[in-house]
């Protein structure tokens, strides 16, 4: 017992310094009006009241949910499909797997710059693929609300599907061959085998992937910062980008902190729900 305390100390210091302190200090900051012009002054929940009535902030909440739900849903489906495809490959499995992981290994900022070029109105790859040499038909994908939103979702799906595929692949390898064979002998077709044998067995792995993706998607910042900066007219702005604008260019530290706390609360709530689900499934299996 006496030995335990010093052993725990490094971990405890690390957790407090890098996890607890920033969270608590941001929560405290969110209770102040704080800008270089007015100084720091306690204001209770005023920043949160202001946030609840800020139309521009609420619009970013809407797109953040649209982005997170649609991109995660697409990534889960695409990831499982990729994993199923790779798991059947016997020859050259190693190199193929490396290629699949590649998008996940590319830094998001680099990927975002690349996607920005793909959607460019003058020399973008997408325009060339769709319209060929008919330059007059070329579209500015990032200039319209609907296509700009789709563009950001597409970039995220491209990048994160490989992460889901990787975890799903690990899950697939733990599916016992006897079960598949038994199902086959019983006359189950490939679709039925997938839904009744494979899917239930890889579900715990998929829930882990889902948890990570949901947390990541709700705190998206870099894709938006690089690709659109919230344009057109704030239609692609997300909560974290809004918080950045308040905190840094506009120097409203208290208000920016309140935005961060709300993002934190949303992610924490979703994570708790998901972790509980994962835990329960884990016990049943």
């Amino acid at each position: 017992m006496r030995a335990a305390l010093p052993m725990m100390l490094p971990a405890a210091v690390f957790l407090c310094g890098f996890l607890l302190f920033p969270v608590v200090s941001t929560m405290i900051n969110s209770l102040y009006h704080d800008s270089p012009l007015t100084g720091r002054e306690f204001c209770g929940l005023d920043n949160y009241r202001r946030l609840a009535g800020d139309d521009q902030a609420l619009e970013t909440v809407e797109f953040t949910f649209v982005f997170a739900l649609s991109s995660v849903a697409l990534e889960m489906v695409a990831g499982v499909l990729i994993a199923l495809a790779i798991s059947r490959v016997v020859l050259g499995r190693g190199p193929l797997r490396a290629v699949v992981i590649l998008p996940w290994a590319v830094p998001t900022v680099v990927a975002a710059v690349m996607w920005k070029y793909i959607f460019n109105d003058q020399y973008g790859l997408l325009n060339y693929l769709v319209y060929g040499d008919s330059v007059a038909m070329y579209r500015a994908w990032l200039a319209r609300p609907a296509t700009a939103r789709l563009a950001i979702i597409a970039a995220d799906v491209w990048k994160a599907s490989s992460f889901v595929a990787l975890i799903a692949l690990a899950g697939l390898q733990s599916v016992p061959q006897q079960l598949m064979e038994a199902a086959r002998i019983d006359g189950a077709g490939p679709v039925r085998r997938f839904f009744h044998v494979t899917l239930p067995l890889i579900r715990p792995a998929l829930l882990v992937a889902l948890l990570f993706r949901v947390m990541d998607a709700f705190r998206v910042f870099d894709l938006v910062f690089v690709m659109t900066q919230g344009a057109p007219a704030g239609q692609t702005s997300v909560m974290q980008y809004f918080g950045y604008l308040k905190m840094f260019p506009e120097q409203q530290y208290g208000y920016g902190a309140a935005v961060s706390v709300v993002v934190f609360a949303i992610i924490a709530a979703l994570s708790i729900v998901l972790v509980r689900t994962v835990g329960r499934r884990g016990l049943v299996e």
Partner: protein, 421 residues
């Protein structure tokens, strides 16, 4: 001069460092200068070399930040907010001084930069560094929106440079009709959702007699409707990507021969004339921006000044550096080598400056009259609200401009009332 300045700084209580400290050659003081990443590092290096030769007791360390004004502001404001004493001199965009003054980050320079010295600079550039009666910076160079046009295309169709926006659109139409080239557009400008959009729209709204801070007024609504219907959404007039264009993209289009007219800052002149990167060298004219009938041409004022940090430990050395960088010699060098319009009036009669920049002569009146953006310590907030309003107003073909303008004006009033937070 130095002695006078030192006394002046000392009397205003600015001089914290020991006055009796070493003369030239005894000790060397290092000062740190923060600027954006220059396109012309060679010119900066030469300017600093000149300074260090004349001031052997000072060593200058140049720290280059991001080239984007917004990101440089992020970086600089973080350091100044934390009272970082390692910054002595910084460059300020034309819209920053009210904020830097009100936050107490920039040192007042009233004594060192006196009324007589101020008179040698364009009035607009001095006004930009003035806040509540004190000056907080010394103008370095200025910028003002100008119209570039294709002389070859206009003369082919017997057209004159346009006086009004309507004439410009009609002239572009005639050229487009005659050329029948799907990759040629009428007009190229900066309409992405960013600071440049505020400048472009300030010019349009101002040239209709309106004010960007009163966006619901009839003149402003008229100008914004024109921008939406006759510039952004008129087929062929602007490229589809105009709503994502900043300076670089809009200039690339014009310099590759893709537009008849182009709104940009004076720096674009040298790039258009450069045969290496431009397909239209020798075919470009420059004029003041058009206006609406009955209105006057308005150019947005841009440009940069030098300020001294309130937390600098070496204000006297810092001042000597600022004085050097804003001297006629250095401003001439930047005008000749980099094409930056000097903030000092006298240089517009300078033969070396005019030889390198023949367009500065006719443009002097435009620079003199350039219109400032709204002046407020809360400008970053105001600008963000204006940007999202303007981008939707001109970008959405069905935008309801008067209603959106009322909302934007109400939000801006709220920003000013809250005054920070």
């Amino acid at each position: 001069m130095d002695a006078r300045v030192m006394c002046a700084l000392a009397t205003t209580g600015l001089l914290l460092a020991a006055c009796g400290g070493g003369g030239p050659g005894e000790t060397v003081t290092g000062i740190t200068v923060v600027t954006w990443r220059p396109n012309s590092p060679g010119t900066w290096d030469r300017a600093i070399e000149m300074f260090e030769e004349a001031n052997p007791d000072v060593r200058v360390e140049l720290q280059t930040g991001p080239s984007s004004s917004t990101q440089l502001h992020d970086m600089l404001s973080q350091r100044l907010r934390n009272r970082d004493a390692s910054v002595d001199v910084f460059v300020m965009d034309v819209v920053w001084p009210p904020e830097f003054a009100a936050a107490g980050w920039a040192r007042p320079l009233d004594e060192a930069f006196g009324p007589e010295a101020r008179g040698r600079f364009f009035e607009g550039t001095v006004e930009a560094v003035t806040w509540e009666g004190s000056v907080y910076g010394v103008p370095f160079f200025l910028d003002a929106g100008v119209l570039y046009y294709r002389t070859d295309l206009l003369s082919r169709y017997g057209l004159q440079p346009p006086e009004t926006w309507g004439e410009m659109v009609r002239a572009a139409d005639s050229v487009l009709l005659g050329e029948d080239d799907p990759s040629l557009y009428g007009y190229s400008a900066q309409m992405a959702q960013y600071e440049g959009l505020v400048c472009d729209m300030l010019e349009l709204v101002g040239s209709a007699g309106g004010d960007l801070m009163q966006p619901g007024d009839e003149a402003a609504v008229r100008a914004l409707r024109f921008a939406r219907d006759s510039l952004v959404h008129l087929a062929g007039m602007t490229p589809p990507g105009i709503l994502t264009y900043k300076e670089q993209e809009s200039l690339e289009l014009f310099a590759s021969g893709g537009a008849v007219f182009h709104r940009n800052w004076p720096y674009a002149w040298a790039l258009c004339a450069d045969t290496a990167g431009s397909e239209i060298a020798g075919k470009v004219g420059i004029s003041s921006l058009p206006s609406f009938p009955g209105g006057e041409s308005v150019s947005a004022l841009g440009g940069w000044s030098f300020g001294i940090s309130a937390y600098s430990q070496h204000p006297e050395e810092a001042w000597r550096f600022v004085e050097h960088m804003t001297s006629p010699e250095v401003q001439r060098m930047f005008a000749v080598e980099v094409g930056k319009p000097p903030a000092r009036r006298a240089l517009y009669a300078d033969s070396a400056v005019l030889a390198a920049n023949p367009h500065f002569g006719p443009m002097e009146a435009v620079f003199e009259a350039a219109a400032p953006r709204p002046r407020s310590p809360l400008y970053p907030q105001i600008s963000h609200r204006l940007q999202s309003f303007l981008h939707e107003a001109v970008g959405d073909p069905d935008s309801r401009i008067p209603r959106m303008a009322r909302e934007a004006a109400a939000d801006i009033a709220e920003i000013l009332e809250r005054a920070g937070g």
